[in-house]
Subunit: 432 residues, 2 copies
């Protein structure tokens, strides 16, 4: 009997990575006649756009992490496996995992995402806090809370102000710097000052946005006490602070790296052809050249579509390419022809503060990225749109309720939820 | 001017410990003309009765920990200080802290609580997981989730069942064993079996309760698959498991210690007279003999009241003694005479499962502990009472909402909230 079962076993699709791309790929396979194995280093999906709120104590880690088995509880064909792939044996169609085991596949969807890119800046990898995984966010929060507690421990005399440097003026850097500016006062009390400096290499914040949104972000951060240094690059980082290219020195033990990402190096380790940022170059069907049963989606891959722009390294692109890759495998399984991917640009948004954001949208989902979005607005309407989009895409109904509760609460009381310092003994020593 | 200010400075009351006793002591000083410093190892209050729900993935750490500064935001006379006291200089009225600094006091309230007591069982301190602090609970959860993930990683063959041993059959042991029995299946899936054994030295569970409640707890745990070994003591623990006094061996790498606590050893370190369980012996006014400005409350202290029973090591006693100690200092500050403490027994409760608990209550809050409580009931009414009491005493309105949300959710869906494995790299090695 069991031999019989294995002889008629359904083909196995391995989805490598459970970020936006991997989740949507696995979900797109819900009606396919296949056994899906979703492999990820963690047993949860991370809602990356809100990591900065975890690192600044406004949300609990559990609120931006959703257990994969819970997400797929109604899709029994999906098996969740926690583990890390290190190499592949293409001829045997086998992934080799870090724990020494192997995972065979008939179809493979590579969706392992991206990682922090320090651009080779001396000392940056060793001396800065990245903000790309939930572990990163929790560790940064512990560090920040420890520093704030140390400052607050001086009952009998005035505390030295704490200095934090955020490198990078994109949405993550702007959002993080803004949240940090609020954090010290709201969480620890007015006695402690947290001085925040943001350094951005180009002459304006939010480079992907219109100059008007950039100006708005700059004015907002400055009004909230953030020192913004535009057009300045960081030359090196060490245990005592950062040195800018012009020689200016900022003493700090809190450098937050929000300046760049690159594709997960797995593409190179698997011997695949890479494009800019180390992304796997896939064909317009999102298929890996030379491997008819292998697709790649999300930040790890890039394609030059037949028409329109290539998908950027953004959540909305990962959702679209992930879904498309899953559908492609489903088409192959059903004997149907593949269809080319077409990116729909949904626009861009960044939060500036409580009740304040900027949003720039296409008039309708356009096939390619335009240099300017025609629909631009800011303030409360943009913030409400941001809130709505994030609540809709947040995984898990309970998480949505909790995050809404926390945001509503913070909005009216200016107090964060997650400022408790669990594990203080582990945090004085960074684990990198 | 500053000399003038210091000459008319308000007296400083240091409250050592921010558990139930310390919180209530600080709160009782809200109208006193004093500067209150609340000193604790953590920057949060831990709601200990729900720690087992954090360790089994049903609640997030943030839901049972409440930031101290947030709790006292409307009581500006309270300063929160994170730190650990190591010794005292009585003549200078100065606490010496672990970081080398000192904290002067005019009045001192010792409320440093209790800690795990392994009763000298060989290997137990090294090889078991305690469940007494939020750090303990988070570490145990990481360990359990890692073990469950390892078992679930065997996609291609059946997994070895995981074994967990809970030592202690009091409310904590019963609640933990019951939650563990549900955890494996609900969080990871039916493929993985989690075998739970509970070992209790005396011949029944819940010794403080009536035999009927004990029987109910036993039947309930057994029905849920927990192996209950009554009248058996653990002789030793090692990396591979536990050995019982009768020579029986249970192989496991998950021993959870829920069998005993003792007072924080600070009383001894401070040179004070100790009673049973290492508790500081205070007079009926909760004052430390020989130190007219020093009081002690909660688990760390015990008194022989003029009438009635001494306060047990329970949350309700800590709340009452803490409040009384704070009020005593307020009386001294106002030039009023001290009044003796009188313990009001509120009864006992333990949860057996979802919608099931046992409760035993006095007819009215009696002055002393009776051997039997006249009001005894179980099932859903007892569970609803347990739920109500825990929600009322949980600190922070937002935490109450979130815990209610999580409980309601779990009640109807049988799914926990906090099963995400943040920090996996740190958990393979125990930090003890």
């Amino acid at each position: 009997m069991s031999g019989r079962v294995s002889a008629i076993a359904r083909p196995r699709v391995v989805v490598l990575g459970a970020g936006f791309a991997g989740l949507n790929a696995a979900h797109a396979l819900r009606d396919a006649d296949a056994a899906v194995v979703l492999l990820d280093k963690n047993n949860y999906h991370t809602f990356q756009p809100l990591l900065y709120q975890v690192s600044t104590g406004y949300l609990a880690a559990e609120e931006v992490g959703a257990t994969l088995r819970t997400i797929f509880r109604r899709q029994p064909s999906v098996t969740v496996r926690m583990g890390a792939a290190v190499s592949v044996e293409w001829t045997d169609r086998k992934l080799c995992l870090q724990d020494g085991s192997a995972l065979e596949f008939d179809y493979l969807i590579l969706a392992a995402g991206a990682e922090t890119n320090y651009f080779g800046i001396a000392g940056m990898a060793e001396h800065s806090w990245p903000l790309y995984t939930l572990d990163d966010a929790v560790r940064l929060r512990m560090h920040l809370l420890n520093r704030l507690e140390e400052a607050a421990a001086t009952v009998d005399h005035a505390a030295e102000p704490i200095t934090a440097v955020v490198v990078g003026g994109g949405p993550t850097g702007v959002e993080t710097a803004g949240a940090l500016a609020s954090m010290g006062q709201e969480l620890v009390g007015p006695a402690t000052a947290l001085r925040v400096t943001l350094v951005e290499a180009i002459p304006r914040l939010l480079a992907a946005f219109s100059p008007r949104s950039s100006k708005r972000a700059l004015e907002d951060l400055r009004r909230r006490g953030v020192e913004v240094r535009l057009g300045e690059t960081v030359d090196s980082a060490d245990a005592g602070g950062v040195t800018l290219a012009d020689g200016h020195r900022i003493e700090t033990d809190t450098v937050i790296w929000a300046a760049g990402v690159q594709a997960n190096p797995l593409g190179g380790a698997f011997g695949l052809e890479l494009a800019k940022h180390g992304r796997i170059l896939v064909d317009p069907q999102l298929r890996v050249p030379g491997h008819p049963n292998v697709f790649a989606a999300g930040d790890i891959a890039v394609t030059t579509p037949a028409h329109g722009a290539p998908p950027p390294m953004l959540a909305s692109a990962a959702i679209q390419t992930g879904r498309h890759a899953g559908e492609q495998v489903a088409r192959l399984l059903a004997g149907k022809p593949l269809i080319p991917f077409r990116y729909r640009d949904k626009g861009i948004m960044a939060v500036l503060g409580r009740g304040d954001a900027v949003a720039e949208l296409p008039l309708r989902s356009s096939g390619g990225r335009t240099s300017r979005y025609p629909l631009r607005f800011g303030g409360l309407p943009a913030w409400l749109l941001w809130l709505g989009v994030h609540i809709v895409y947040l995984i898990g109904f309970r998480n949505r309720l909790k995050v809404l509760l926390d945001w509503g609460w913070s909005y009216f009381t200016s107090r964060g939820a997650g400022a408790i310092l669990v594990h203080p003994p582990d945090t004085r020593q960074r684990t990198s």
